[in-house]
């Protein structure tokens, strides 16, 4: 019998020890230190080398670009450049740089530093071009030459007028890195980044945290927090649990279904519509969707209100056209979304002789900006079944999905899900709606939409220097595209974040960039 007596005692003692020991270890996050729950480990902290919003969220606090987005808008404002002039033909941009700015390593920020940054990215012969690859360098592919005119003046020569240039400079790919730090770090620069921003890099503990500290010699308003810690937590349920437990002070990309957990005291939910559009590409080249009436019919048949309210729990708004309303200056607010009208859809299908058509629908399991693609795809399938369309879904993992969709839908599918987040109203329509952007020409017009009028408007908007003139062209384009219905316009996502009530002055930007310089942590 003795054998089992000591076992019981041991079990009891062990249990008691386990229960008591860790009680003391549950510390709150410290004052002045903001802990942010991120969705993944960053790939690199070299702004020229990365493409993911997740990385951008850290970068914009360490670095600055020549221009930036005016807070709360997607309009361009001065950043490290105080002012600029554009030549009349739109091919020469001359920037006057801010005086007295230094990088965190003491290197002065000047015209030579700007030249270094662009040459590194664009010039294959540059000694530090091998610190790439630079996947988004094509944002600046129109730059032919960068010249340091004097210490604080820098000039760009473009191969052709390119109006989105200024907003591309505000995008993270245009953030300025310290030349001395690149020379010292080489390919490992992305692990020990040096910029000019309100925070400076402290350490990167692999798979655990990136720590940045307030930069005391910052040229502008000093940061509100002493330090920010970015912690990657990939599983969204785990991220939510950490937020509830107080292990992190802020989390981004809260799953719609978890939002209700943060309604009570102690938390603030922040939302902000951004330059995002979720749509269905329709194959306008062949099959039933080649008929405009059928494309309009599916726009009527899909209950977008139900998708944004029920599937996405109100974390998105119904999209009216190809351009998200976040581009306020270029958005045509006279357009209203296609109403949910199954009867009208049936009429249009009857007129087109497409009743009961069978359609193939590409759905992805997940992916950047895709929200809840399987549930949304299923809801769409049901709506289309209600107007007599027989839709069969084919689901692919994101990478495979892109490999199928980007080369074009011809011979494969009638419709496919897609979502884009961009920084300029030019980007998406220029890459995905022009005739010259058909897949065989290297574009993303996977549904083969073609309207010469739209092509012309987009080309003119790209070369127009005046913002009002550009805006008028984009508004016309939106009206035509809405009528032509090459896509089903479904949703504009509202980015969200939750903070604990110890966090103050936090807002989300329409650019989806996480600017933390004003945030205070109590």
């Amino acid at each position: 019998m003795t054998l089992f007596n000591w076992t019981r005692r041991a079990v009891l003692a062990a249990g008691a020890a386990l229960a008591l020991a860790p009680m003391a270890a549950q510390a709150q996050t410290p004052e002045g230190v903001l802990i942010v729950g991120q969705v993944a480990e960053p790939k690199s902290l070299d702004p020229a080398a990365v493409t993911a919003v997740n990385d951008f969220r850290i970068l914009v606090n360490l670095y600055e670009g020549l221009t930036r987005y005016k807070p709360g808008t997607l309009e361009v404002a001065p950043g490290l450049a105080e002012s600029w002039e554009v030549s009349d033909d739109g091919t020469e941009y001359t920037f006057k740089l801010r005086e007295g700015v230094t990088f965190h390593d003491g290197t002065p920020f000047n015209a030579e530093a700007v030249k270094f940054n662009f040459d590194r990215m664009l010039n294959e012969d540059h000694p530090y071009h091998n610190t790439g690859p630079f996947p988004l360098a094509f944002f600046f592919s129109s730059v032919e030459e960068t010249t340091a005119v004097d210490d604080l003046t820098v000039q760009f020569k473009l191969s052709a007028p390119y109006a989105p240039f200024l907003s591309n400079l505000a995008y993270p790919t245009g953030l300025m890195v310290s030349p001395a730090a690149v020379e010292a770090g080489g390919a490992d620069f992305g692990r020990s980044p040096v910029g000019t921003g309100p925070f400076k890099f402290v350490e990167w503990r692999a798979n655990e945290a990136v720590v940045i500290d307030k930069y005391e010699d910052y040229w502008g308003e000093p940061a509100g927090a002493q330090a920010v810690v970015f912690r990657p937590i990939e599983d969204s349920n785990t991220r939510v649990a950490e937020m509830i437990a107080g292990g992190i002070d802020m989390m981004v990309e809260v799953p719609p279904t978890a939002l209700s957990q943060f309604e009570g005291d102690g938390f603030n939910v922040v939302e902000q519509a951004g330059p995002h559009v979720w749509f269905l590409i329709l194959n306008a080249k062949e099959g039933p969707m080649a008929d405009k009436k059928v494309r309009q019919a599916v726009n009527y048949a899909i209950n977008k209100e139900a998708i944004v309210n029920d599937v996405l729990e109100g974390t998105a708004e119904v999209a009216a056209g190809p351009t998200p309303p976040a581009f306020a200056w270029a958005y045509n607010d006279e357009l209203s979304p296609y109403p949910y009208d199954p009867e009208k859809a049936k009429e249009l299908l009857a007129e087109a002789g497409a009743e009961g058509a069978s359609l193939t629908f590409y759905v992805t399991e997940g992916g950047s900006g895709m929200l809840d693609p399987v549930a949304m795809g299923t809801a769409i399938q049901a709506d289309l079944a209600a107007v007599g369309l027989d839709v069969s879904i084919e689901t692919y993992e994101w990478n495979t999905f892109l490999g199928n969709v980007n080369p074009g839908l011809e011979g494969k599918a009638d419709m496919a899900e897609m979502a884009w987040m961009t920084n300029d109203p030019d980007t998406l329509p220029y890459l995905a709606l022009r005739t010259d952007a058909w897949p065989e020409n290297g574009g993303f017009n996977s549904g083969y939409y073609s309207n010469p009028k739209v092509d012309e408007l987009l080309e003119s908007a790209r070369t127009a220097i005046d913002q009002d003139e550009r805006a008028a062209l984009y508004k016309k384009m939106q009206a035509i595209v809405q009528e032509d219905a090459p896509w089903v316009f479904v949703a504009n996502w509202k980015q969200n974040a939750v903070t604990s009530d110890r966090v103050e002055n936090f807002t989300l930007e329409p650019s989806f960039l996480l600017q933390l310089e004003k945030v205070v942590k109590n």
Partner: protein
Amino acid sequence: MGSYILKRLVAAIPVLIGVSVLVFFIMAMIPGDPALAILGAYATPENVAKLNADLGLDKPLVQRYFIWLGNMLTGDFGRSYSQNKPVIDEVMGRFGNTLILAGVAFVLCSILGILAGVVSAARQYGLADKAITFTVLIGISIPSFFLGMILIILFALKLRMFPVSGMYLIYGGGGLADLANHLVLPASALAVVATGVIARLSRSAMLEVLRQDYIRTARAKGVGERRVIMGHALKAAMVSIIPVLGIQAGFVVSGAVYIEMVFDWPGIGQMLVNAISQRDLLLVQGGVVVVAACYVLFNIVVDVAQALLDPRIKT
């Protein structure tokens, strides 16, 4: 014994080469490529081609395999593009974390499982046996990731006894006590199923031994019950329990994949899942080869241990 170990080690080489061939060509065959994963929506055919050339992926497949194998033999596993650092640094760091988690879980499930099996067998059909058998059945039936979530809700959110996730406190953490505190929940969740399996098999192994004549002889001689069970019976039963432990060790390491996702444990399972979805070829390949090598090594250790315990096994 020395030559036996050597023989087993030599036999492991073709296994590892086979693994390297498999993982290389499987990764090459799955649709989607690294450039697509990096460029995402901006992956125009032109950009993809340029980036593939930058990454050295434009060479013929077989040539790429031998370049990779050759580099690996010199200890160079290449550079991970998704982590932007040497593959071997990332793999070893991550695998170390997995071994901490899996190691603790393995010790837990071995001790608890054998103990439960022994108690069960010694008290066959008694109350303790029934209670243990029932508990074990529940343990085997619960998927570990689900148990993980339940543990988080109960012990981290409701009772606030343990942290939700991670390996150390994010700010001002570190040290053994902090690590142990973060280990309790994931290691328990990971150990439960394996404990159940080990308990069941230990019970039947013990029962079989307890029916042997020499046990009756020992009891007839007046040897104490505790000594009969812990000394005579368990020692003989261990010969059939150890291979089970070996299998369960593999199971615990592979089961760590789910647990690492749920508890955000920065281990190799979590790394591999991400690396696959980002088509980080070199990282997947390097990670799989290292895990496979470790697994092979573990099997050899188990076989050697068994040979040492049981003189009937030819070495």
